[in-house]
């Protein structure tokens, strides 16, 4: 009854029942899992707690990753934000979103605990954008949890109709999807309509179509961690656009379909194999040689 595999269906259900996207997603989960509503909401709260802890870990006790490539940024950003906030060009909420997303990425890179929402490589975008926005709007945890359900609903349709895996679709499938999911969730959190949520998701994903997965040494560090930070600001931008009444000319389901098809067109060298792009740049090659990482070409 609340089953959906496309964004169009999800939106239609919300319209039919005159409710939010998150409410449909919660009812869907109740129906497929036979779990009570409270249990499902508690499970999402638990995930929010892990996300918050992952941010706090790098904010309070930053750790350099084994490779030495990441682990410094959160510290520097925190210092800048506390001393030179006036010099920011971005809004405070966008800067914080970027900082929290990078903090999550640094926790992940140093083998800390995170929520792979939707994947570990893209795990910073949603918590970054959501927690920064929650602080700015001073909204309840209930709103935050609802935004997480909405984001999951969008992610589910991407998993159904395209892919969330970098090895299949490149980074557009990971960070691109995370931005679409975050943009929809944020839009609901700040009072946007279900239609506006869908436009935010479409605008967010379109902006990152074609994005390659070419991490240095194959590690979830460069460019993943800082890219996640910048991407969190895109989610906020996409939501601002949608709240202004700007619409995506291409509907979200078609953007998702295009993303999946682009993924299949991408060379395997640009799909999480560390055989192309940034992964074979001069600096990357020097770094991987120093680290003793042997990248094997299986193609």
């Amino acid at each position: 009854m609340y089953d959906f595999t496309t964004c169009e269906k999800l939106l239609k259900l919300a319209q039919k029942h005159d409710t939010s996207l998150s409410e449909i997603v919660i009812r869907y989960e109740c129906a497929i899992s036979d779990n009570s509503r409270n249990k499902i909401i508690d499970e999402m709260k638990n995930r929010a707690k892990v996300m918050k802890n992952a941010i706090n870990k790098s904010m309070k006790d930053p750790e350099i990753s084994v490779s030495g490539m990441t682990g410094e940024s959160t510290k520097r950003m925190k210092k800048f934000f506390s001393r030179k906030k006036k010099n920011l060009l971005l809004s405070e909420v966008s800067y914080k979103a970027m900082m929290y997303a990078i903090a999550t990425g640094e926790t992940n890179a140093s083998m800390g605990c995170i929520v792979a929402f939707p994947t570990a490589g893209a795990s910073g975008v949603i918590p970054g954008a959501f927690f920064a926005t929650q602080e700015k709007l001073k909204c309840s945890d209930k709103k935050l949890i609802e935004a997480m359900f909405t984001a999951s609903g969008i992610g589910l349709t991407i998993a159904e109709n395209a892919t969330l895996a970098g090895s299949k679709g490149g980074c557009q499938a990971e960070i691109g999807s995370a931005v679409a999911m975050a943009a929809a969730g944020l839009t609901e959190m700040r009072g946007g309509t279900p239609e506006q949520c869908m436009h935010a998701a479409a605008l967010g994903l379109k902006n990152l179509l074609g994005l390659t997965c070419d991490p240095v040494g194959g590690m979830v560090e460069v460019p993943c961690v800082k890219r996640g930070g910048l991407a969190a600001t895109f989610a906020i931008s996409a939501s601002d656009l949608a709240m202004s009444g700007v619409e995506s000319f291409i509907p979200i389901d078609e953007v998702i379909d295009a993303m999946g098809k682009i993924g299949r067109l991408l060379s395997p060298k640009l799909r999480e194999t560390a055989l192309g792009g940034l992964a074979v740049s001069k600096t990357a090659m020097k770094t991987t040689k120093k680290l003793g990482i042997k990248i094997v070409n299986n193609f």
Binding site: I114, F117, A120, S123, A151, L156, A165, M181, L275, V296
Partner: protein, 226 residues
């Protein structure tokens, strides 16, 4: 009907850095350990495709080893898997190779040995912590698992009439819902394997009781990996 739960998307909760290359790898290791039905003296991993190219950076090797040592996907000790295996006296070896065409890019063949017993399992991590087992020894199978979603039990049994209904009755009598179940013959001579994904855990006393039923070789429970 969608194949996904909301928590497949918002999850799993895991130790970084990669859902496909770390969390999924832990789950594959756990599956192999459960199928082998004891702690191996020696374990070899043949890493295929993307698993072969980028395993070090994603700690895929440590994760595969941690899984064989029954660690959870969110276990903070995955980092130290090599040291822990050394302490336990488990020998391990990672080789990069090619399993051939038709294998998912994130595939591994795990060979476990203990004394003169030997078993191999080939599986892939298909993204977001989802795994698929495609071969056990020389037999083609198709078993799916998801890190952080179900309590999984692995049952080795005779391939004979009536055993499956035994198993399902046993589980449902305990008020446990079977989310899905897959069965396959895995060896000559009528040996079969059933993997059931359950919504709640089966207690150890029940596992031991199930194991006593005629025609059942062993039952292993994989704790829900969160």
């Amino acid at each position: 009907m969608s194949n996904y739960s909301v928590f497949d998307i918002a999850g799993p909760i895991m130790t970084g850095p990669s859902s496909s290359h770390t969390a999924g790898a832990v789950k594959l290791g756990q599956m192999a350990r459960a199928l082998f039905d004891s702690t191996p003296d020696e374990v070899q991993y043949l890493l295929h495709g993307s698993f072969g190219t980028v395993y070090k950076g994603h700690a895929t090797d440590r994760a595969l080893l941690a899984g064989v040592m029954k660690m959870y996907t969110s276990d903070a000790r995955i980092k130290d898997a090599f040291n822990i295996a050394d302490e336990k006296g488990i020998k391990y070896k990672f080789t990069v190779g090619d399993l051939g065409l038709g294998y998912h890019p994130n595939s591994v063949k795990i060979t476990l040995k203990k004394g003169n017993r030997k078993m191999s399992m080939t599986g892939s991590s298909t993204g977001g912590g989802n795994v698929n087992i495609s071969q056990i020894d020389d037999f083609n199978v198709d078993f799916k698992g998801i890190a952080g979603k179900y309590f999984t039990i692995v049952i080795s049994h005779k391939n004979q009439v009536g055993i499956l209904s035994y198993i399902t009755t046993f589980i449902s009598e305990r008020g446990i819902n079977i989310a899905n179940m897959q069965s396959s013959r895995v060896a000559e001579g009528g040996k079969a394997l059933t993997i059931a994904n359950l919504d709640t855990a089966v207690g150890l006393p029940d596992i031991l009781e199930l194991e006593k039923l005629p025609g059942i070789h062993f039952v292993r429970s994989l704790t829900k990996v969160t």
